[in-house]
């Protein structure tokens, strides 16, 4: 309902010339620009570039964060050794690392992947860790009673118990990756939706800037929505809880 009201206001403001059409192009011109960008393949090119970076960067994040969380969650004695460093890194905004990543890794793909890893690591890591360490000890005792080995207890009790938390971490991590990537592409890139926006700004094309913003929001929403649907399929016992966990998750703030 709210988006419809905003569009209605936008249409009315444009039609009544209440706003400067250069600064706030009309919905019709935005639609026209979108069609042109799609027809020329520009939008698809930038979008696929950004999505490829997300998939690669987030995949890399998961490969680092998940095993580390499992290691720390199942070997609590390691925590004091790793905790200070992790808490130090957690407070660094990924965007602030872009200059040093460009210096170290160049302006190519590596620096973007590094930004995504930094942005998505903590939601995935902290939520996976929380899921593992908060597994109900009473359930673990059940595994102990029925003779499950340490590995079986992890695979059959701890991991399924942590799954809602892990999936929540992935959802949050994907959202954070998307936002951080666009930030990185705004600063240093030659392709991607962020680059498309900054290039449009330099060319004085606010219509393309707005198309880029709308695409970012839409893709972020679609990724989140698809993952929510997927989590309901993967976690049928978890009901509607997952959709309400977004704001209470570790690393969400």
């Amino acid at each position: 309902m709210l988006p419809l009201l905003i569009v209605a206001w936008w249409l009315a403001a444009s039609a009544l010339q209440m706003v400067n059409s250069y600064l706030v192009p009309s919905p019709a011109s935005i639609l026209q620009t979108t069609v042109v960008l799609v027809q020329k393949g520009v939008l698809l090119k930038h979008l696929t570039t950004s999505l490829y970076r997300i998939i690669a960067g987030f995949g890399l994040t998961f490969l680092i964060a998940f095993p580390l969380a499992v290691l720390l969650g199942t070997n609590r004695w390691l925590t004091p050794y790793v905790d200070p460093l992790l808490h130090f890194i957690r407070h660094i905004p990924p965007i602030s690392c872009i200059p040093i990543f460009i210096l170290w890794l160049g302006i190519g793909e590596a620096s973007k992947l590094a930004i995504i890893v930094l942005a998505a690591f903590f939601p995935v890591f902290l939520n996976t860790l929380a899921g593992i360490v908060t597994c109900d000890p009473k359930l673990i005792e059940v595994g102990q009673i029925f003779g499950l080995s340490r590995m079986e207890k992890f695979r059959r009790i701890i991991l399924p118990s942590a799954l809602p938390s892990i999936i929540l971490g992935i959802r949050l991590g994907l959202g954070y990756s998307w936002r951080a990537l666009i930030g990185a592409e705004l600063i240093a890139a030659s392709a991607g939706v962020g680059y498309m926006i900054i290039e449009a700004e330099q060319l004085s094309r606010p219509d393309i800037v707005i198309v880029g913003i709308l695409v970012i929001g839409s893709i972020g929403y679609l990724i989140d929505h698809a993952f929510l649907k997927l989590s309901h399929l993967i976690l049928p016992w978890n009901g509607e809880k997952a959709s309400h966990d977004r704001f209470t998750a570790k690393g969400a703030l």
Binding site: E141, V142, I145, F146, R156, P160, P236, W237
Partner: protein
């Protein structure tokens, strides 16, 4: 045959500057195929005893001997402790990992689903079934494990009276049909006497009375001998009885008196 033998079992743990004795010199033999109930006040050591037998807690001294030595020990807790992500039949099969018990797994689960009246709910998740039903699943899980001895820690105490009565009957039916060895902890004296062939009374970490219950199943609480035995057990729990009174009552009731484990005067809760 004795399936479980406890020799001088002790458990103590530190509390501030003192050592608390949770279990003191427990001597107990559980015969195969017997239903033994343990009653006592809260904090008398019933649950600790069960948890040590189950291997969930360490003991401070004494010995636990299972026959056979690799006996399977199943346990049903006060709360069902079902895995929320597993359906009823999967929860029951949890105790039987594939490869361990092989092909008969599905048949065993189906068998106990049927016995416990859970077949229509086999594909339900724990959140979708009642607490009584969930406790049935927990019982089914212990049965599927093919336990040599099943430990039950107040498994019916959280249920309403009607469900509790129904499950008592079902449990007794399973016990009689399958000749399982059951060690059942409860704080309900009636339940202990309705269910058990033998009632152990615990007080401050010791087994202070051991009563055989000679009444045939199904039992009712209304008969005079049952009532007298109930009074004896209650007196033993509250510590109002002395040995002579108990023996006299036992003779009048026609119930055999099995003995008294340790006097009350030397019972020390704190060292």
């Amino acid at each position: 045959m004795t399936v479980l033998l406890l020799k001088g079992l002790c458990k103590e743990y530190p509390l501030r500057q003192q050592r608390v004795q949770a279990l003191v010199d427990i001597e107990l033999a559980i015969a195969e195929g017997s239903f033994v109930t343990i009653v006592g006040k809260s904090g008398c050591g019933k649950t600790t005893l069960l948890r040590i037998i189950a291997g969930l807690e360490s003991r401070s001294g004494g010995e636990i001997v299972f026959t056979p030595s690799d006996a399977r020990v199943g346990m049903v807790f006060q709360e069902p402790r079902l895995m929320p992500w597993l359906m009823v039949e999967q929860n029951m099969a949890l105790a039987m990992p594939p490869g361990r018990d092989g092909k008969g797994m599905q048949q065993t689960v189906e068998h106990y689903l049927e016995i416990l009246g859970l077949t229509p709910f086999r594909h339900a998740y724990p959140a979708q079934i009642s607490s009584g039903m969930a406790q049935r699943v927990a019982l089914g899980r212990a049965l599927c494990y093919n336990s040599d001895i099943i430990l039950m820690d107040e498994p019916l105490s959280a249920l309403d009276a009607f469900t509790r009565r129904t499950l008592q009957q079902e449990l007794l039916h399973i016990f009689q049909e399958h000749k399982k060895t059951i060690l059942f902890v409860t704080h309900d004296v009636d339940e202990a006497l309705i269910m058990g062939q033998r009632v152990l009374v615990m007080d401050r970490g010791r087994i202070v009375q051991d009563y055989p219950v000679p009444f045939p199943y199904p039992r009712t609480v209304g008969s005079e001998p049952f009532f007298r035995l109930r009074e004896n057990v209650l007196q033993a729990i509250t510590g109002d009885a002395n040995g002579e009174e108990v023996i006299r009552d036992e003779k009048e009731a026609g119930v055999g008196f099995c003995g008294r484990h340790g006097g009350r005067a030397d019972i020390g809760f704190f060292d």
